[in-house]
């Protein structure tokens, strides 16, 4: 039996190989919805749910698949899951559906889902496949929330506006307006601002990673010198 390093899967999908920040996939839905952190969180969570189930289903049927028809079957499954999510949200999360409605069908075009189905779920047993799908989705959600939060703060001076619509009225406490007088920077809300912000965040990640990769080395050096 092959051993699966779940910690490594989680670490890789959330940070090191994050679909957005490292693989630069799924940028279309990313840039479209991240004018606010709440929208980002909403779409991220739906995408995570779709990825979870698509990984599970594809991993379950992987022994039946043949190379010739695997891609159409993946697309069929993913598209159906997205349609189911769309219908369910329209019926039971109607307020959020009104905000995100336009983007939900676009989850089908999220190449990250097909990518994980093809490269991981179709080759691995259920449990690792599900963990992989879930963490990739959460990594995507993380990226959406970070980008959405930055753009919302700079663009309209709020954070998690309308979060109570998405998560219930109990969460209205996280709706922040740190700069009540701030009129907002229009550019950041527009699509071009999404690209600019993404570029800044990507370079920020590079700087962080360089900083982190130097730091442990220093600690080791100190330890050697001490003992």
């Amino acid at each position: 039996m092959q051993q699966y390093d779940y910690k490594e899967i989680v670490k890789s999908n959330l940070w090191k190989n994050n679909v957005v920040f490292a693989q630069m996939l799924a940028l279309c839905p990313l840039l479209a919805v991240t004018s606010g952190a709440t929208n980002g969180l909403g779409l991220g969570l739906i995408t995570t749910a779709v990825m979870f189930f698509s990984s599970l289903l594809i991993s379950l049927i992987r022994s039946f698949l043949t190379p010739q028809v695997r891609i159409p079957i993946f697309i069929l499954l993913i598209a159906s899951l997205v349609t189911i999510a769309d219908l369910a949200m329209n019926a039971w999360l109607h307020e959020l559906h009104k905000v995100l409605g336009l983007f939900i069908p676009l989850i089908v075009t999220n190449c990250a889902i097909l990518g994980r189905a093809e490269s991981y779920a179709s080759k691995n047993p259920c449990l690792p496949a599900v963990v992989d799908g879930l963490t990739t989705g959460l990594g995507f959600t993380l990226a959406l929330v970070i980008l959405g939060g930055c753009r919302e703060l700079l663009g309209s001076g709020t954070l998690f506006a309308n979060a109570s619509l998405l998560l219930g009225s109990a969460f209205s406490v996280i709706e922040l307006a740190p700069f009540p007088e701030y009129k907002g920077l229009l550019l950041i809300i527009l699509p071009s601002g999404g690209f600019i912000m993404l570029g800044l965040i990507l370079s920020g990640k590079r700087v962080l990673e360089q900083w982190f990769s130097k730091k442990p080395a220093k600690i080791i050096a100190n330890e050697f010198s001490c003992h």
Partner: protein
Amino acid sequence: MKLISEKSKQTLAYPALLMGIVALIVCSLLLLMNNLTAQPIAARQREDLTKLLDQVLPASTYDNQPLDEKYQVTIEGQNFAFYRAKLQGKVTAIVLFTQSAGYSGDISLLVAITADGALSGVRVLSHTETPGLGDKIELAKSDWILGFNGLSLSNPDKTGWAVKKDGGQFDAFTGATITPRAVVKGIYSTLEQFKNNQDFFLQTDKAANGS
């Protein structure tokens, strides 16, 4: 784990059969889901419409269920979907859905007109105007749209039905003149169509009633 031998997978029929089975399962799942959600979705949509109606039409002005009967009409190439609000069988107001060409795409408007031709309320339902500039036509962003309440074709007169930049009485937003201009024009032409076809909309025309 090998439920199906590699040899049978190589046959021509296998991929076709596999696709067929997967499609069948997926379709039945979708059918089930559609049946499950059809009623809640219809209920939510009706709630949305009811909320909208409450915003533009005082509940005291009608005693029927306007949403039960939806009408469609095309006047001079412009499509209108509308509902009739009635009090004791007489139409007291109509609620129209219409579009006006904005800066980037159509602006969907909901216009409520009372039987005497005055505006009871106007709302922008959807638009693709520039965020931060043109989106002040939304009630959520600015109360500009409330300025239309109570107006009619004669109040103000024709020259008044324009943005201030064009000599009218309506404010235009900084950096966005085309958007409010489009809304004003859309509302004005809706009022005109209403006036020209008053008998039809209010069901006072015997012939229209009969058909």
